[in-house]
């Protein structure tokens, strides 16, 4: 039985809610049950932003994520605010720009240059969210690649398909090519 709760965090404007929607939609294409939600409203203004996705092979009742299986953090503030909510043995994917890595040794932490890759490799900072989805895919395989790519194309502005598929691939590669490097458990002591 599959049941995964994911939390994507960062700041307003980083497209994390869209990322959550895409992930949820991909799971839906896979025939899975899914609930997506987000924190909302003025306190999100300029401050922390949060999207949540529950993906499950059974019916989802309680729609909110409390303890999560995987968390993505794109800012220090978000990371600090939520890292305690990761379940033991859970996964934290954090952007490399975040200076302080949380002190938890019961989870796997991936420190990944997501924003940097968006800026430098692709030249579009706004695709960080899609790169992040690529990393999540590569680590968890929680949805099928076909569904993920379809979902991305369905939700992004027309004409940017190619860029976004490339972003996804950058995400896959960030994990794939660097498994043995600084990502993974050991990194948390960097």
């Amino acid at each position: 039985m599959l049941h995964q709760e994911l939390r994507l965090t960062g700041s307003g404007g980083q497209g994390l809610i869209l990322a959550g929607i895409i992930l949820a939609e991909a799971a839906l294409y896979d025939g899975l049950n899914v609930v997506q939600s987000q924190s909302y409203g003025p306190e999100a203004r300029g401050g922390a932003s949060k999207a949540e996705v529950i993906i499950s092979s059974r019916e989802i009742n309680f729609p909110k994520v409390n303890k999560c299986d995987l968390m993505l953090a794109l800012t220090q503030a978000a990371c600090d605010k939520y890292y305690e909510s990761i379940k033991p043995n859970g996964i934290l994917i954090m952007d490399k720009s975040i200076p302080n890595i949380p002190a938890r040794d019961d989870i796997t932490i991936y420190v990944v240059p997501i924003i940097e890759t968006a800026m430098n490799s692709l030249g579009y900072p706004m695709v960080s969210n899609v790169i992040a989805l690529g990393t999540i895919y590569e680590i968890t395989k929680i949805v099928s690649k076909a569904s993920l790519e379809k979902a991305v194309c369905n939700r992004i502005p027309r004409g940017t398909e190619e860029l976004n598929i490339r972003a996804l691939e950058e995400g896959y590669n960030l994990i794939r090519n660097h498994k043995e490097e600084c990502y993974g458990h050991g990194c948390r002591f960097n």
Partner: protein
């Protein structure tokens, strides 16, 4: 990868899509968190189906325009949240006494007053019933999932038309903003009810006369040749105001009766594991989702719990509640308030069984564990 006509949709979005399926041709509103997407999506969608969207200057103007449009013949809706719902109360009473079909969505947030605008709440349960002055009855529905928002919105329009009455659709911030999968029906797959129009000679039309066998008077639209008068004053069959006490009493009793006497048609409830249950949790909307999880947990722990979920909040599901009360040794009403629906459950069920309440008003959805703890502790 399964290919179905399935979409990922936000609760507020499902509400608009359903409204359009139900025949909505007019929306007037004023933005307020967490209902605003309903306005925004209506603004986008309506002109594409030949309907009209207007952002009015405030909530009072919105409900007024909605009633006006409905009198003129268009199925109409507005959406708001707490503060706006309070402002619409006078208008809702006008829709009640003039028997004007319309749907008023209240996506509940934390209150009272401005309260916690971005947090969910269930504090408007009693207000939905009693918010407007004077004796009256009301229909209020409260779904718990995106899919159910879709079907319940259609039901809201259908009941509004069938009973010629405003219907309150209660949502909350959680179900309004969350996204879930929903399989949209194809055209013709859902039943749509349209108001019954008169066919008599125009001279013979009495806008407030109920025909033998009908529940409500036939309703002409403006510009269709039946010229009639609509007033919020007590009125007779011709629609003209009167001070006649007998007519007044008849009118008010008929308005209340058409709802209270047709519960068999209007009231919808849902049950989960109640057949052998010893403890029944009563909950609705997003809280019922937590309650369902709680039931599972309690069952795992060997406690025979079940869930009773009113989808129709008003009129009260008294018959099912009494039946329930006779079956279980305890009822726990769980709400994101400190006891509103509880009062009515206690009234009708409290004569047969113990009725407790569990509520929270901190702006967070009640969790399954909290419910489990409460059930086990008390």
């Amino acid at each position: 990868m399964i290919e179905r006509n399935v979409k990922l949709m936000q609760g507020n979005e499902a509400c608009v899509e359903a409204a359009i399926t139900a025949g909505m041709k007019f929306y007037a509103g004023y933005p307020i968190t967490p209902s605003t997407e309903i306005a925004e999506i209506s603004a986008e969608r309506l002109p594409k189906v030949g309907g009209k969207f207007i952002q009015m200057e405030d909530e009072i103007a919105s409900i007024s325009a909605v009633i006006g449009a409905s009198i003129a013949g268009a199925k109409s809706m507005t959406a708001t949240s707490g503060p706006g719902f309070s402002l619409k109360q006078e208008g809702i009473g006008y829709a009640v006494i003039t028997e004007t079909p319309c749907v008023i969505v209240n996506v509940q947030r934390g209150g009272p007053s401005t309260g916690m605008p971005t947090a969910p709440g269930q504090g408007d349960i009693m207000q939905a019933r009693w918010g407007t002055h004077g004796d009256h009855s009301i229909i209020a529905l409260y779904p718990w999932s995106v899919k159910e928002i879709y079907y319940t919105t259609i039901k809201a329009f259908n009941l509004a038309e069938k009973y010629r009455t405003p219907v309150i659709l209660l949502l909350d911030e959680v179900i309004g903003h969350m996204r879930e999968s929903i399989e949209l029906p194809n055209e013709g797959e859902v039943e749509i009810y349209n108001r019954k129009k008169p066919t008599c000679l125009t001279e013979e039309y009495k806008p407030y006369k109920v025909k033998e066998g009908d529940i409500v008077p036939e309703m002409a639209g403006f510009g269709e040749g039946y010229r009639f008068h609509v007033t919020g004053l007590v009125h007779g069959e011709t629609g003209f105001p009167t001070n006649n006490g007998k007519i007044a009493e008849e009118l008010i009793r008929r308005l209340i009766g058409k709802i209270e006497d047709n519960k068999d048609d209007i009231v919808e409830t849902d049950e989960y594991l109640l057949d052998d249950a010893d403890i029944a949790i009563v909950a609705f909307g997003s809280t019922a989702r937590a309650a369902k999880s709680a039931v599972d947990t309690l069952r795992e722990e060997g406690i025979k719990a079940g869930l009773f979920r009113p989808i129709t909040i008003w009129p009260l599901a008294d018959k099912p509640l009494v039946e329930l009360a006779k079956k279980v040794s305890r009822i726990v009403v769980v709400e994101m308030n400190l006891g509103q629906y509880y009062l009515e459950v206690d009234r009708v069920a409290g004569k047969y069984t113990k009725v407790d309440r569990f509520g929270r008003v901190n702006g967070d959805l009640i969790t399954p564990q909290e419910i489990v703890d409460f059930v086990k502790e008390v």
